[in-house]
C-alpha cells in the first residue's frame, strides 16, 4: 500500500495563457477517487515542494457518472474523474484537460460545440402544437430497450476526445451527436422529422467524415454502442440519399 497519493496536473490560468504542470502529494487514504483527491488538495492547496498555490479548477456535479461534467484526461486517456478510482491508477496520476475543447481554466473545458452539434442534428422531438396533439404512437419494447442505451449519453465528450477525426483540421461532429440522431430517429414521434436529422448528418462534418477508427465505443463511460449507431446512420443516409436522388 502506498503511503501517499501523488498527482501531476496540467494547469492553465486563462483560456489564452500557456499551460504548466504542478505536482501534489497528499497522505494516502483508501477508496479515493480523482475528485475526492482534488477536493482534499483544495483544503490546503500547496505543491509537492511545499509552495502555496491556488486550488485546481475542474467541473463536477453529480459524482456518480450521470452528469458528464468531470471528463478529463487521466493518465493520458479521457474518462470521468468521479469513477477514476485512485487504487486502480498508476501514480503519479497525470490529469490534463480534454484536448478537443477550448480550456477555460485548468481542467475545466468549454463543451459548447457538443451542444451546438445537438442543435444541428435537431436532437429533440417537436411535440408542441397550438392544441393538444394527444398521445404519440407506442414504441415496440425491443426498440425501446435499444433506445434506452442511446438515451444514456451524458455529453461528456470522451468519444470526441479519443477520435482522430475530431480535430482543428476537420469539422467532424463526433460520435455522440450521431448517436443522438439515431436515438431521436428511432422514436415513433421523432421519426416524423427523421429526414431533417439525416440531412444534417449528410452535410460537411456529418457521419461521412467518420474514419471508423472506433475508439469512441471503447471510451464511452456509459457503454453506448456508438459504432453501431454510426453504422445505422450510414445505412439510413444511404437509403435517404439514393431515394432523394431518384425520387421526386
Amino acid at each position: 500500500m502506498p503511503s501517499s497519493i501523488r498527482l501531476s496536473v496540467k494547469r492553465q490560468d486563462t483560456p489564452t495563457s500557456s499551460p504548466y504542470w504542478e505536482e501534489y502529494e497528499i497522505p494516502y487514504q483508501p477508496r479515493q477517487n480523482v475528485i475526492s483527491v482534488l477536493m482534499e488538495i483544495a483544503k490546503d492547496p500547496k505543491t509537492r515542494a511545499g509552495k502555496a498555490t491556488s486550488p485546481v479548477v475542474y467541473d463536477r456535479a453529480c459524482l456518480e457518472e450521470v452528469c458528464g461534467s468531470c471528463a478529463m484526461r487521466i493518465n493520458g486517456v479521457a474518462r470521468m474523474a468521479c469513477t477514476a478510482l485512485i487504487d486502480s491508477l498508476e501514480q503519479p496520476i497525470r490529469l490534463e484537460p480534454m484536448a478537443k475543447f477550448p480550456v477555460q481554466r485548468d481542467l475545466s473545458v468549454d463543451r459548447q460545440v457538443m451542444f451546438d452539434s445537438l442543435k444541428r442534428i435537431k436532437g429533440w422531438i417537436p411535440i408542441d402544437g397550438t392544441y393538444d396533439l394527444g398521445p404519440g404512437p407506442r414504441m415496440p419494447e425491443p426498440e425501446r430497450q435499444q433506445a434506452y442505451e442511446y438515451s444514456k449519453c451524458i455529453t461528456c465528450g470522451n468519444c470526441l476526445d479519443v477520435c482522430p477525426q475530431v480535430n482543428g483540421r476537420s469539422n467532424f461532429i463526433g460520435a455522440a451527436p450521431i448517436a443522438q440522431a439515431r436515438l431521436f430517429n428511432s422514436h415513433p414521434t421523432g421519426a416524423m422529422n427523421a429526414g431533417e436529422r439525416l440531412e444534417a448528418l449528410m452535410a460537411e462534418g456529418g457521419v461521412d467524415d467518420c474514419g471508423n477508427a472506433q475508439n469512441c465505443v471503447r471510451a464511452c463511460p456509459k457503454s453506448i454502442p456508438l459504432t453501431t449507431a454510426i453504422a445505422e446512420m450510414y445505412r439510413a443516409t444511404t437509403r435517404y440519399g439514393i431515394k432523394k436522388l431518384f425520387g421526386t
Binding site: 486517456v77 456529418g206 461521412d208 472506433q214 453501431t228 453504422a231
Partner: protein, 205 residues
Amino acid sequence: MTSDRNFWVRRLHSLSGIVPIGGFLAFHLYENSAASRGADAYNEMTHRLQTLPGAVAAEILVIALPLLFHGIYGLFIAGTAKPNLYSNGYVRNWMYFLQRVTGVVVFAFILFHYWTTRLVQLTDHESLDLFRQVQSAVANPWIYAFYIAGILSATFHLANGIWSFSIVWGLTVGPRAQRRMLYISAVVFVALSVVGVRSISAFRL
C-alpha cells in the same frame, strides 16, 4: 442538392475505391502473374490488352480518372486526420492509421509506376518489351522494395477499404457483422498480396 455535396463526394470516394479501382487492382495483379510464364507470354498479354478496342478510352475513364479522384480526395481526407495511437493503441485505430499511410504510399507508387511502365511507352518504343523494362527496373533492390511496398500498400488499402466500404454503405451495422467482414477482408489481403508479390518476384528470376 448543395447540402448533399459532401455526402456524394464522400460516397463517390468510397465507391470508386471498390468499383472500378479495386476491381482493376485485382485484375491487374492477376494479369501480371503472366510474368511467371516468361517474357514472351507476358509481352503477348500486355500487347493483347493494349490493342483491345477502346483500350485507351477505358484506361483514361475507368482507371486514370477514378484513381486521380480517389487519390487526391484521399490525400485531403488523410490531411484531416490526427492519429492518436499512443493513447489508443487498438487494432481498429491502427487500421485507421494504416489506411491513410498505405493510401499515401500507394498513390506515390502508382504515379511512379505509371510513369515508368506506361507513359514511357508513348515516347520510347524500345520499352515495348515491357518485360525487360520492368526486369531491369526491379534489378535495383530499392525499386524492387518500392514495388513490394506499393503492392502490399495497395492490397491492404483495398482489403481494409472493403471493410469500411461495407460500413459506409450500410451493409455491416453491428460489431458481429463487422468482425465477419474483417475476416473476409483479411482473406482478400492475403490472397491479393500473394498473387501480387509472386508476379513482381517473377521479374527477378
